[in-house]
Amino acid sequence: MTEQKDRELYRWLRLIREFEDRISALDKQGKLMGGVYSGKGQEAVTVGFCHDLRWNDWIFPLHRDLGAYLVKGADPKRLMAQIFGKRDGFAKGKDSYLHGGDLSNGIFGATSMLAATLPVAVGMAYKFKIRKEDRVAIAFFGEGASSRGDVHEAMNFAGVHKLPVIFVCENNFYAYSTPNELQFGVDDVAIRAAGYGFKGEVASGNDLHDVMKAAGKAIDRARKGDGPTLVECKTYRYHGHSEHDRAADYRSEEEVITWESRDPIFLWENYLDKRKYDIGAIRVETSAEVKRIVEEAVAFAEASPSPEGPEAMEDLYAMPIDTEAR
């Protein structure tokens, strides 16, 4: 990879981390409403899968894939306004966090019914196929969501029609508090792909190189018409399920420390250092830049108007009906 790309990837990792940290701080300050689901620690997965996508490819992020929004092209200001529940957010204040997608950038909003986006991604990929469009759809889901029927239904159909879709399982080892051994009887979610007639792969989700290698192969396969891939990225969330969950009741401090030693940013900095870049200067420069972007986003979101009550009645129907008129 070129130095420029190496540094660009670093910048994305750092921007997402800064965004996540700032949101956690805002939440602690009581400035945010509702649930906040930090993806801190999982940045390499979304950077790796979204970075080389084209503008007209689509992603279906899961509830903690804030980073995917940024890399795929969402305006940080509008994303922050979305999280604040303001009128400039993608949902115009009608729903929280990542439930409002940015459709003009190919980012579909999730519901709280985890994995429910997989059938939607598959439907979209079906359109790409029948219209012979050189586009792919990427559906992210957690290992917890892999227990749901929608995952099976979506993968089964994608296998039948060899659709240009990639299923990315972000395995962070806990579904809220439930560890993997209480979730499924296999070691790797990826092996389930065999049951649907396509390839499953395991990647080290904190190692951006490994993620990009898997992503590159899967995206290439999809574009060539060779069908779907299930990529399982083993990763870890530093925070609890939500910011209200300390996670201390169900996982040990040692475990968290072990994973912190495999931090995706730390690993990438080591790599930059090995390539003899001036990591000290890069770090300082990047810090200043991402801080500025995030602070601008916060300022924008804070200044964005809160929606008025009656705005709740807007955007329900595309074709309203006047049922009082005869």
């Binding site: 957010g89 993608f90 949902a91 115009k92 204040g93 009608k94 729903d95 439930h99 409002g100 997608g101 940015d102 459709l103 003009s104 579909f108 909003g109 519901t111 709280s112 019914m113 429910a116 986006t117 997989l118 059938p119 939607v120 991604a121 598959v122 439907g123 979209m124 990929a125 079906y126 359109k127 029948i130 759809a137 029927g149 929608d150 239904e153 979506a154 089964n156 159909f157 039948v160 807007e314 955007d315 329900l316 129907y317 595309a318 074709m319 009906i321 006047d322 049922t323 009082e324 008129a325 005869r326």
Partner: protein, 324 residues
């Protein structure tokens, strides 16, 4: 031309598939077989395997995939083989499709139609007789239609396909081949959101929809000498055409609501409450309801007959209301 209710449905899909290349039909066995009831007979041969798509037994997928297609500007018709199975796609309907536009702040529409055979009277038993329309009438963002005639079956389905919102289209399997009607050879649409005044009358109003419309019309004709009945066919259940409902309630002062779905939690309760509140001073009797008994729709003929509304029960209910 003289067509059956199911032929009207087939024609609507055929015409819309031909008119708009973005229209697709997806469902279980809709292709070579032409659907379990032959609603899509010949359509795959005519419009191609990419556009008339045999789906696995995966209702959640069928609806979810429909949403993905809709976001891409396609207009999928999603057949649920028996409407009873719609429960397996319930989450995708109420949480993905119905919320799509709202939670994206108006960035997109969701032009999908979910259609399938509903209703009893054919000894289908518990899982092939249900009338689950009320489940969906509680969900904002959806539109719900239930045609009673071949004319409406065609015109409403064509409107549903062209509508930019998710429409659930309850066709009644009892009517598929039992009713025939002259319909225009040229294209027409029936608007969503408008009830049909099936018969004018002075003495009392019967509000109904779906299969019971025909029994109510028969009652209105048979009982003409004793009571002059006005018949309203709602056709659209979400949202309901309140203007037509209230105008008729005010005119006759007596209202009976008849539906095949069971009484508790049914649409009739909503209609009755609204009339009681808005038309109280015009009423000459209680707003009455007739629906199925509060039990599953049983298999054995005598039990099914006992549970569902029929001609006799409708006549009896009309007499009781007329006596006030």
């Amino acid at each position: 031309m003289l067509v059956t209710y199911i032929e009207a449905i087939r024609q609507a899909m055929d015409e819309e598939l031909a008119r708009d290349g973005n229209v697709l039909l997806m469902g279980e066995d809709v292709g070579v077989l032409g659907g379990a009831f032959k609603a899509s007979a010949g359509l795959q041969e005519k419009h191609g395997v990419d556009r008339v798509v045999d789906m696995p037994i995966s209702e959640s997928l069928i609806v979810g995939a429909g949403v993905g297609l809709a976001v891409q500007g396609m207009r999928p018709i999603l057949e649920i083989q028996f409407i009873d199975f719609i429960s397996c796609g319930f989450d995708q309907i109420v949480n993905t499709a119905a919320t799509l536009r709202y939670r994206h702040g108006g960035q997109t529409a969701c032009p999908i139609v979910i259609r399938g055979p509903s209703g009893g009277g054919v000894h289908g038993g518990l899982y092939h007789s249900q009338n689950p329309e009320a489940w969906f009438c509680h969900v904002p963002g959806l539109k719900v239609v239930a045609p009673a005639t071949a004319y409406d079956a065609k015109g409403l389905l064509k409107s549903a396909i062209r509508d930019d919102d998710p429409v659930i289209y309850f066709e009644h399997k009892f009517l598929y081949r039992r009713i025939k009607e002259e319909i225009p050879a040229e294209e027409y649409l029936v608007p969503i959101g408008k009830a049909a005044l099936r018969k004018e009358g002075r003495d009392l109003t019967v509000i109904t929809y779906g299969s019971p419309v025909h029994a109510v019309m028969k009652a209105a004709r048979d009982m003409a000498a004793e009571v002059d009945i006005e018949v309203i066919d709602l056709r659209t259940l979400l949202p309901i055409d309140w203007a037509t409902v209230k105008a008729s309630a005010r005119k006759t002062g007596k209202v009976l609501i008849v539906h095949e779905a069971r009484l508790t939690g049914g649409i009739g309760g909503e209609v009755a409450a609204r009339i009681a509140q808005d038309c109280f001073e015009d009423l000459d009797g209680p707003v009455m309801r007739l629906g199925a008994r509060d039990v599953h729709t049983p298999f054995a003929p005598a039990m099914e007959e006992y549970v569902l509304p029929n001609q006799e029960k409708i006549t009896e209910a009309i007499r009781k209301l007329a006596a006030y």
